[in-house]
């Protein structure tokens, strides 16, 4: 392994600009003469908007324009669409009403944008927004996902029972038969709490219309600028693709929340032509809380059937998933194909049947948030497996090992074909690292100090490398999920790589350059990664679903193959040898069995000078592109073990030890992979212990600031012990599986399994706040006394 090649702990190339304050985020960009947009948002969870009187606002200094849904409709600007078709059990298509970018008729959640005010300064726009007289007719709202299907409140006329779909997966009859012969059945009801993604950079947009060329430029906080452009062109009719340039410069975290197209960037783009000025909008934090797509929010009943030895026979799951007020771009696939398809976990389960109802409520739309469906699946599987082991008196590690998938490929009853893995290897390694054998001694030591100690496993699996285009197409996706790359070798031998992936913290400028530097035998500083601009990169599907390594880098590898093939042809002419005799290694082309050789920069210069090869056979230049479509999902999996100590007097849970052993396939940069795992665990621990999006019954979000929504801070978290075991992924050329979401997927079940182990009591909901844990500890103590 070279110092900068695949597998090396290369320090990040992008860091210098970030540590010196020279990063370039959307809000850092300014265009001369820009105006500012502020949105007036519905204060009510459900209300008919009778009229908007803008006369007072328009009279204020600096106000340039006020626009409402009627203005968008007049220009035939469309509504935000749902990008994934799901069919109900009865075969009917889902009910998925579009989300108008400014309210038309009814506002359906607190925060739904009613009107926009454009003014010279942000303060003037804010004053204008406050001066708008909006005449609302307040309507009853429905907030609770368990009540909405039987509620008298109807959000959308074309979504009866406030239901998007009633979907199923798996073999119902086979599952019923498995339960009929079960020796033991474990039952569990779980809530997966609603979360707010909270990327630290708030969303922002800056749009500029050029009347001379009739084209728009939009700077926006996006994980996938090409998808944003496609949606804004094809569905929203803002501008044709070739007249719309979307630039996502440095992006300050996303975690899914910056995948989607939101009303604000659409309105700013459209309004920049209306007012003839560049228009800028930046969310404040409370605005982010009430407009960024939320995550999770499931209610689930599950049953697991076992034989007398604790071998799983069947699994039955019934879930209601809250979509919020509208179906956001990928929302409909999250509780279906990203959730129920992972309900087999790491286990060989003969029969599974899952039912999922997706419902509308008067709350912020819910969509993919780090892990997207897979954390929800893992929470259900790993909680019920743990409880089943406890109920049957089997050690939870032994119970898991007894049920692991051991032969690959493995076809689950819920679509997926697992291609490679060694689940026992991760589990065994994690048990060693945490000293599982010594746990009982540690528990006794804690007890002597009046503390309750518990240990919890989470053996997660996820489907990443999203995704084979035809496969997702057959499941309802509106797009293909390949990735593109272009490798441009310059005459002097340095290289630009244009990729459709887009880093928002993952370090692509380093990891992608590691691949290119190793393959071409050039210095890593000779490689520039270009991303996030639709005028530079031809097309791309973006970064989410832990896909940029497995799919994005595979596209680069494919383009590099073509570059190497062409360079070899040129080298053959330069070395006056047969093409088949040319070897390329460590940046040098040589003729097999001779000492004749030539360097990569010499070949690239010659490619552009084009004096020494017949241009009738070989085109001048050295630039190749590739589109890579994966042949399967990838299946990262691993074992996380959390050890907690609880003070029963205060209910405070202290995470005293955390071990993560993950199988991500081939690791490009262990330093970056460990960082991804740390960050994922922190978000999972946040869900388990601290974070919760809470609505009151009228639909006001009570947790709409950092005063009320508890973000994990340095003092809430331990040091993590992170290790990997490796089974290379067989389905892509680099053997990569992906690592971005694992921590967030694994962590919640590990924490709750540890807390319930410590308390000896299974009834604890997330977040397990000190108050909730204290209460459960009291109940557990009372039960023990009885």
């Amino acid at each position: 392994m070279s110092e900068t090649g695949i597998g090396a702990r290369v320090r990040r190339k992008e860091d210098r600009r970030f540590v010196t304050g020279a990063g370039n985020y959307t809000d850092d960009v300014n265009i001369a003469g820009q105006a500012h947009a502020v949105f007036r948002r519905s204060e009510h969870a459900h209300a008919a908007v009778k009229s908007v009187d803008a006369s007072a606002a328009l009279a204020l200094p600096g106000v340039l324009g006020v626009f409402t849904g009627d203005d968008l409709a007049a220009d035939e600007v469309g509504a935000l669409p749902a990008g994934w078709m799901i069919h109900s059990k009865d075969g009917s298509p889902m009910n998925a009403p579009g989300h108008p970018c400014l309210v038309q008729g009814k506002a359906r959640y607190v925060g739904d944008p009613v009107a926009v005010v454009i003014a010279e300064t942000q303060a003037q726009a804010r004053a204008g927004a406050e001066a708008l007289e909006v005449d609302y007719e307040e309507l009853d709202a429905v907030i609770d996902l368990t009540e909405t299907q039987s509620s008298s409140v109807l959000l959308h006329d074309d979504a009866p029972k406030n239901t998007c779909y009633e979907w199923e997966l798996g073999d119902k009859a086979a599952t019923e038969a498995a339960f009929a012969k079960a020796h033991h059945v474990t039952r569990l009801s779980l809530t997966n709490n609603r979360l707010v993604p909270n990327a630290m950079e708030p969303r922002a947009a800056l749009a500029d219309y050029d009347a001379g060329t009739g084209s728009y430029t939009l700077y926006t906080t996006s994980q996938n600028p090409h998808v944003a452009r496609l949606v804004m062109s094809a569905f929203l009719n803002v501008a044709p693709e070739h007249k719309l340039r979307v630039i996502a410069p440095d992006v300050g975290g996303g975690f899914g929340s910056k995948i989607y197209v939101y009303p604000e960037e659409v309105v700013c783009t459209w309004a920049s032509k209306k007012v003839g000025r560049a228009v800028k909008w930046t969310a404040d934090r409370t605005e982010s809380f009430i407009t960024d797509a939320h995550g999770r929010d499931h209610a689930t009943d599950a049953q697991l059937a076992m034989d007398e030895r604790g071998r799983i026979l069947g699994f039955r799951v019934r879930t209601t998933a809250n979509l919020g007020a509208y179906p956001s771009l990928f929302a409909t696939c999250v509780p279906t194909y990203l959730y129920a398809t992972l309900l087999s976990g790491q286990y060989d389960i003969p029969a599974i049947y899952a039912e999922v109802d997706a419902v509308y409520t008067n709350t912020v739309p819910v969509d993919a948030y780090r892990g997207a469906g897979r954390p929800e699946a893992t929470f259900v599987v790993e909680r019920i497996v743990e409880v089943a082991a406890r109920e049957m008196g089997i050690d939870p590690a032994t119970f898991r090992k007894r049920n692991f998938v051991k032969k690959f490929p493995h076809q689950t009853p819920v679509i997926m074909t697992y291609d490679a893995g060694d689940y026992a290897a991760s589990l065994n390694r994690a048990c060693d690292l945490i000293d599982y054998k010594g746990f009982n001694r540690r528990r006794r030591d804690s007890a002597r100090n009046g503390k309750l100690r518990g240990i919890g496993f989470s053996n997660y699996i996820e489907a990443c490398g999203i995704a084979p285009s035809a496969a997702v197409g057959s499941l309802g996706a509106g797009v293909g999920l390949w990735e593109s790359a272009e490798v441009r070798v310059n005459p002097t031998g340095n290289v630009e790589v244009l990729t459709g992936s887009h880093s928002h913290g993952q370090g692509h400028e380093t990891t992608f350059a590691q691949l290119v530097a190793e393959r071409l035998g050039i210095g890593i500083d000779q490689v520039e990664i270009v991303h996030g601009d639709t005028d530079k990169v031809q097309f791309g599907m973006g970064t989410y679903g832990s896909r940029s390594g497995a799919v994005g880098m595979s596209a680069i590898a494919k383009a590099l193959d073509k570059v190497e093939a062409k360079a070899k042809k040129i080298a053959a002419h330069l070395l006056e040898a047969a093409e088949g005799d040319i070897e390329f290694k460590d940046g040098t082309f040589s003729v097999t069995g001779t000492d004749k050789s030539i360097s990569f920069p010499e070949v690239s210069l010659s490619a552009y000078v084009a004096h020494k090869f017949p241009t009738s056979e070989i085109e001048p230049g050295l630039k190749e592109g590739a589109f890579y479509d994966p042949s399967n999902f990838t299946f990262p999996a691993g074992c996380h073990i959390c050890e907690v100590e609880i003070d029963p007097a205060t209910g405070v849970t202290d995470i005293v030890n955390w071990v993560a052993v993950d199988d991500f396939g081939v690791v490009v940069n262990p330093m970056i992979v460990e960082g991804q795992v740390h960050g994922g665990i922190a978000q999972g621990v946040g869900q388990a212990l601290l974070e919760n999006a809470v609505y009151d019954s009228s639909g006001q979000l009570l947790t709409a600031s950092y005063m009320d929504y508890c973000m994990p801070r340095a003092d809430d978290l331990p040091d993590f012990t992170v290790d990997t075991t490796v089974t290379p992924c067989p389905s892509n050329p680099l053997g990569i599986k992906g690592c971005g979401e694992a921590g967030a997927i694994a962590a919640p079940a590990a924490v709750i399994n540890a807390i319930t182990d410590a308390l000896g009591h299974e009834e604890i909901a997330m977040p397990a706040t000190p108050q909730a844990v204290w209460r459960a500890a009291q109940v557990a103590a009372r039960e023990a006394a009885e």
Binding site: F18, T20, Y25, E201, G505, E674, Y706, M711
Partner: protein
Amino acid sequence: MTTVAMTVNGDSVSADVEPRTLLVQFLRENLLLTGTHVGCDTSQCGACVVHVNGKAVKACTMLAVQCEGAEVTTIEGLADGDALHPMQAAFQEHHGLQCGFCTPGMIMSAVDIVNRHGGAPDEATIRKQLDGNICRCTGYHNIVKAVAAGGAAMDVPAREAAE
């Protein structure tokens, strides 16, 4: 409008601003020093931390006019020319950042923690003292390592906490 004058990263600056202008707005909008970030509106996240007269301050929670005559250092003023400040170098070396959005505030807070505590603060002290800075990406693990290493490299004499 009122005139405000201060020293920012060693340069004398002055501008006419509305009295309600926050220090962070003055830095970002008037001086175009966009390294100082805004991540919240309740003084909770620390993305905006700068030094005013040598002490860490949340620039979203101070008016520009309150800094009249003050010495302000932002993330852009921390390095010595091309040579990174030891805390900046430590964040890069220990992978203490991912998206980079919290990073300027984290580094400015970290320098202040070391200045106040001296020497190389221990892990528990670092975790406690970082409670005014939120990072959503890193899980803090590597930030804590970076602050410890940066602190050791800063060569500030060990002392009891000054508070």
